[in-house]
């Protein structure tokens, strides 16, 4: 009886499992293997080189540059978009008029595909005809080259990413806010707590589960989202705005070095795995206080 039950269970799991193995686990294993091999060209037979690819990686200044960029990118976009998301959620959750329109406005960037968003922002950022510089010209400021200046390119990308992501995270915060009993806030008000104190002592702690969920997703996105790079900067100028995933793409399909690309991919997988593990541990241990 038990055996038959097991068989049935495995049969039910089979479709999902075969897809996972074929398109996730097997390629992952192949990537690990490929990162330990090398060949002069794709036609030549690959030979085992051990950790040699990783030694090259440690000496690769561009690798360190994209890692640094990626960390700055995460640091610049994640807290900002979370803070904005909370602020917007609090705003559209309050008793003001036109909340429906506001919610729609905040959520619109999320509906748009990243490529579309990048094209819109390309127009904003263009050196001469761009919206920002035209506006700046109105008040007599000669606007910078947002995407062409190595000191500004990455920041410009971050601003666009925050714009795109905050609305999405707002939805999670809005949902969480609406599950909180209004009597809690009434009680806090009667007790004489200021708005800031209510936020710090009541609202924010009660939103903590959402914040952790959003934080993990935002971090993963910071490493996973690169579509906009294709439109806006292609990682330039001089890798000033290059990110890890885009560098992997370049290595594999522009420089045609799939072995080194595999090595970079392994690094990325390990980083994402660490984030995912933190998520699992935090989610299971910390947040169930209700």
């Amino acid at each position: 009886m038990l055996k038959r039950f097991n068989l049935k269970a495995w049969l039910l799991l089979l479709p999902a499992l075969s897809l996972l193995i074929a398109f996730t686990h097997w390629p992952t294993l192949k990537t690990f293997w490929r990162s330990a091999t090398w060949a002069r060209s794709d036609a030549a037979p690959a030979k085992f080189v051990g950790l040699e690819n990783y030694e090259i990686l440690l000496d690769d200044p561009i690798f360190w540059k994209v890692i640094e960029n990626n960390l700055w990118y995460a640091l610049g976009t994640v807290p900002t978009s979370i803070a904005l998301a909370i602020a917007m959620a609090l705003w559209v959750n309050s008793k003001i008029r036109f909340t429906g329109l506001l919610r729609l406005a905040f959520f619109t960037p999320t509906i748009l595909p990243m490529i579309t968003v990048a094209n819109i922002w390309l127009f904003f950022y263009s050196p001469n005809i761009g919206l920002f510089n035209q506006l700046l010209a109105l008040i007599g400021i000669n606007g910078p080259n947002w995407l062409g200046d190595p000191d500004l390119a990455l920041s410009s990308l971050m601003i666009m990413t925050v714009w795109k992501e905050a609305g999405f995270f707002m939805i999670f915060y809005l949902a969480a806010l609406q599950t909180l009993s209004p009597e809690l806030f009434e009680a806090a008000k009667v007790e004489g707590a200021s708005g800031w104190r209510i936020f710090r002592k009541i609202t924010f702690p009660l939103l903590m589960p959402t914040t952790l969920f959003v934080l993990i997703n935002a971090l993963l996105n910071a490493f996973k989202l690169v579509d906009h790079l294709f439109i806006l900067t292609k990682g330039g100028p001089n890798n000033a705005s290059n990110l890890l995933l885009y560098y992997i793409y370049e290595t594999a399909f522009s420089f045609l070095d799939s072995y080194y690309a595999a090595t970079l991919t392994v690094v990325m997988l390990v980083m994402l795995a660490i984030i995912a593990l933190v998520q699992i541990f935090f989610f299971d241990r910390r947040i169930h206080y209700r």
Partner: protein, 319 residues
């Protein structure tokens, strides 16, 4: 100490609180009583500052507080859902207001110690509300209100989430606490037993308006309207229509006697200490009225049995 004058609140074209005026004296326990949706909770929220009145004024200790924020009014409030902060320990829940108002640390401790002893929460201070029973949560909410040492304490149906036994216990407890501390309390309830047993005075509301303000005995003995007469007392007062007048007589004041008004039994409802007898008075075939009679002990009347009823003239109410 509290004076409410002409308080009015409208939602759209519906007036939920209509020209409400009453006052609370120092150390007095006033109940706002009425059926669901009569505007009593809205009234309380306006006094707390959580709702803005469309008209009227609220005066506390001679000062107009109508336009003050809830925090500035320095009142305490107990909510129906207790409104305990789920992520804070009991002790932090109780001290939340004192911390917000920046009361000195040693003063906080002193008040905490006395209130915790008062409501008996000594063993639970480090727990979170989720680990407490309903009765204990109620005590925490009560402690949070008492610790504020506010001029006026507002309570919004604080017992309605408890089971019947606990409700009776807490009723006595809240009342004795209020009397020991000399608190001024406005207590919103739809339960006439709560209002009758706890309050010094009752403001009976119906449909946004005040029906009658009186001490509990006054509401029971001298109801001014049919609504009051029927709302107070259980079972409700019998109303017998005659010509253009209404005659009211309470079920507990009707006796079943040998000689009197003829009546026919419809059914009996045994409650233990007494039996509620449903009967029909008036001429058979003519205009009849159904009345309820509270009969002490266990009555065994068959349906359609003829009985005679009687009541003393002094128990008659005319509307």
């Amino acid at each position: 100490m509290l004076k409410v004058e002409g308080l009015t609140r409208r939602y759209g074209d519906q007036t939920v609180v209509d020209d409400l005026s009453f006052s609370v004296n120092e150390g007095e326990f006033v109940a706002l009583l009425g059926p669901s949706g009569c505007g009593k909770s809205t009234s309380l929220k306006m006094i707390a500052g959580l709702e803005t009145p469309d008209a009227g004024s609220i005066e506390l200790e001679g000062k107009d507080i109508t336009d003050l924020t809830p925090g500035q009014r320095k009142l305490a409030m107990v909510f129906q859902s207790y409104a305990l902060f789920p992520h804070l320990k009991v002790v932090d829940n109780i001290l939340f207001g004192l911390q917000a108002r920046k009361v000195a640390k040693d003063e906080q401790q002193r008040r905490l110690d006395s209130v915790v002893e008062l409501v008996g929460l000594q063993d639970h201070l480090q727990k979170k509300p989720g680990q407490l029973s309903g009765g204990q949560c109620q005590r925490v909410a009560l402690a949070r209100a008492v610790v504020a040492e506010a001029r006026l304490c507002l309570m919004d149906e604080p017992l309605s989430n408890l089971d019947a036994k606990l409700r009776n216990e807490m009723r006595t407890e809240i009342r004795s606490l209020q009397q020991r501390l000399g608190m001024s309390v406005i207590y919103v309830t739809h339960d006439q037993v709560e209002a009758m047993s706890m309050a010094d005075r009752i403001v009976l509301m119906n449909d946004g308006k005040i029906e009658q303000i009186d001490v509990p005995e006054g509401l029971y003995n001298k109801p001014k309207t049919v609504f009051t007469a029927q709302f107070i007392g259980n079972p409700a007062m019998n109303i017998i229509h005659s010509d253009n007048q209404c005659l009211g007589i309470r079920p507990e004041h009707i006796e079943i006697v040998e000689e009197g008004r003829p009546a026919r039994v419809i059914s009996c409802d045994y409650h233990g200490a007494d039996t509620i007898v449903l009967a029909e008075i008036g001429e058979q075939g003519g205009t009849t009225e159904i009345i309820k009679i509270r009969y002490p002990g266990h009555a065994m009347f068959a349906a359609q049995q003829s009985i005679s009823v009687h009541w003393k003239l002094e128990y008659e109410h005319r509307f």
